[in-house]
Amino acid sequence: MGASSTSERLTTALQEISSNVRNMKQMEYFVLCRRTNQIKEELRQGVRKSYREVIDVSWGDPHRAGVKPLSFVRQVLAACLYPQLMDGDKLMGDVKERAQRLLRTCAGGSVGSYSDIAGIPQIVQSVSEYIVRRDGGVPCHPKNIYITPGSQWALTNILKVLVNSEASPRTGVLIPVPCHSTTIISLTALGAVAVPYYLREERSWALEVEELQRALESAKGVCNPVALYIINPGNPAGYVQSRKCMQEVIRFAAEKKLFLLADEVYQDCVYGKESEFVSYKRVLAEIGAPLSDTVELASFHTASKGLMGECGLRAGYVELVNLDPAVMKYIHKLFSTNTCPVLGQIALDVMVNPPQPGDPSYPLYLKETQHIRASLAENVRRVEEVINSIPSFSCQSLEGGAFAFPRVFLQPKAIERAKEAGLQPDTFYCMRLLEEAGVLFSPGTEYGQKEGTYHIRFCIMTPTDTMEEILKRLSTFHKQFMKEFS
């Protein structure tokens, strides 16, 4: 385009964009991403560095890190896309049977047709049956389930219903610190106020009701809190909440009339020896009436996380509990603006109904999932071992989720240098780690943290040798970094 100055632009309309949009924090990630792309280009052009490739573990993206997709789901997807594949013996019987069954649920027998708003009914049914099994028999009504293009999209749309951007005071939503960044950005864009409640790092990131109470108090006169957002298992911190904690949270939400938003996308990634995932729905049901009939709950899940890791397919779902039917009508309208890709829905069906013992594909499925679980367990062990042995680095025990979120104790000189560079201290650390060791992590600033503390986040769902390499490069870098700024 021409090089005319902005002031000569014919319409200035776009410069007056809404302040809600303008206030959306630019992610720290972008500056790191730009540099990563540059470095990759430099490597491609033969520039010499102490590493041959950049290892990117900044997102929860197992395939990017080298984890292989599960064969069964990919075979089913391939067969659905190109049914001629099912001729002959290229694919196993259960793959064909699943693909044929799912294609029959698609209009015109094609994954290229539009689907129903809430998702293909048979798949919604499958999801609801999965939820019942998962929750030990607690009933689940298909009409309370919406399959969506990703769990974040579903969350944003529920928030649209709850957040009243015209109101004074503005709507508030309690969010954990640390919390993954996309939620924070969504809230800002909607004109809501994020009310932080701090998880207690020293107690493995425990959620304490006293802290919820304090957060709520702090909102007085600032905003009107309507919802409580929980992430369990955690992201970025790798905790799994105890039943007791969840009961307290539910009682608190009931007492303060808060809508519970339960982000449970990592429910399939639990590895802590004492940990077990229980859904908020189940705990709510177990508490019994009247709470079980009145506390409003939205729980989110996705095909992007867990063992499948199919982030690129964009498929998730939300289950809505105890909502006024009249309010559900509005939710339905919002959800009708964008349906989940059919292929994503198919992946979801496989996720909630994987191959069972006796099925031809089961042995391979078992082998692949066991391998991923074993790698994850090994990675967890090594990460905790290595990080906790490095001075000025500490990591809470990892119980679930896909990330490690260790704390790094930066020296005053390093913090000073960061300021000079115009970067947050942990972003500065990540930038140097990238430059010198070719490893891309994500800075704690992105997620919120207690003032004066610094953290880094990295995905631990990687092949084991990749994790070894990461830990090796990290250790070497860290020692040098600490020495430089001592």
């Binding site: 993206d61 047709s113 309208k333």
Partner: protein, 473 residues
Amino acid sequence: MRSVLEVNRRVRGIRDPVNLQSLAAQISQQIAQGEQKAFTKVIDLSSCDPHRTGMQPISFVRQVLSMCCYPELLKEESFPLDVKQKTQKLLEACNGGSIGSYSSSTAGLPPIRRSVAEFLTRRDGGINSNPEDIIFSSGSQKTLAMMIRLLSHEDGQTQTGVLAPLPCPHTLPMLLDERGVKLVPYRLLENRGWALDLEELHRALMTARRQCDPRAIYISNPGNPTGHVQDRETIEKIIHFAASERLVLLVEEVYQDSVFGQDKEFLSYKKVLFEMGVSYSEKVEMASFHSISTAIMGECGLRGGYMELINLDPAVKKFLFHPSCSPSILPQLAMEIMANPPAPGDASYEKFTQEVLLRAETLSQNAGRACKLLNALPGMSCQPAMGGVFLYPRLHLPAEIIEEAKKLQLSADVLYCQRLLEEEGICLGPGCENGHNDENFHIRLCVLAPPAVLEDVLTRLCSFHRHLLNRPD
């Protein structure tokens, strides 16, 4: 429990959809449960969803996508070489070589953006397209919604307005409602093949300025649902209008690959803009939208589209890169195939070309046949379509029907469509969804279907229509 009153006012303001699909689903359910009807299944031609009606996907596209999902297939001898080569190229563009990985940028995979930029440059005769200005998403509606969000004011301030054609795509009104933006219609001229009238544009703008703060003008070319294809002169006039009135141009060009009217051709707004010289090409702000839900590919269920931004302030553009909008991978790959189809000499070239040609011919013939039949009906008149996938005939209904509709608190076109659905199992779109909510009744019919299916639909529609007109209940 939260009550309706506590629901965000803007959400409460979203209009109710007409929702014939719900009735259609009920009827399908009844048939499945063994109820006897005059038809064996419901045929839905109210939106462009070609696979639903039986149109086949393009083989090359499906072979490549399938192989990208399950790269083990690369070892299969039965697949043509160019399918394998394309698959390898596309997988290289994906992070971790997997379609299950996130895009590296929220705007889409960089190599795909480059490919699409090259395609656009070729399409527009050499006018350069910058990959950085291309943003992928889950469809043209999504990218449009992103742009609208950028343009709209917060609640509590003067409402933002968007000029939109009457009739407009049936998905547009709800989209604008959801964004809290006012739709200000500019009427297209039915008796001139739904052409755009500049005076009407000016009138609409003046009306808009009294009611809201108009920021953009929305264009659909080839027109949805009108089938009108704009000529160069019209496009230039609109660009000039947008320039002088400081409106952002939002140009939906999803049906650009389906132009069949005689002596008609698709001209992209971008091309015309650049050929108007720097006083326009460096200033007019524009976003043009495309998707894979086109007539030829028809991959609506895959959910993929992109927009190209022109002359947007970089300081503003960055707000379009929102992390929660990470686009799905497979549709991006499908888009790349659309941008770089098999070339002469490639193993799949002949088959691909045949399929595409057949599709285009089917559409053209269907549009012609349907228009002819509908115009032969009393009480119906239909402008011929020059492009796109819809016909949008006008209903001249007897007073009795209109009265009956009023008593039922329905718009007469909705009543018409309901009756048609109940009696013949055919689901068409009522014109009120396209913005016609006065006594100017229309129906919307997608003609992209296998000829036998369309013929069946037309026969039954004609029979229903004649019967309705002779039967003033």
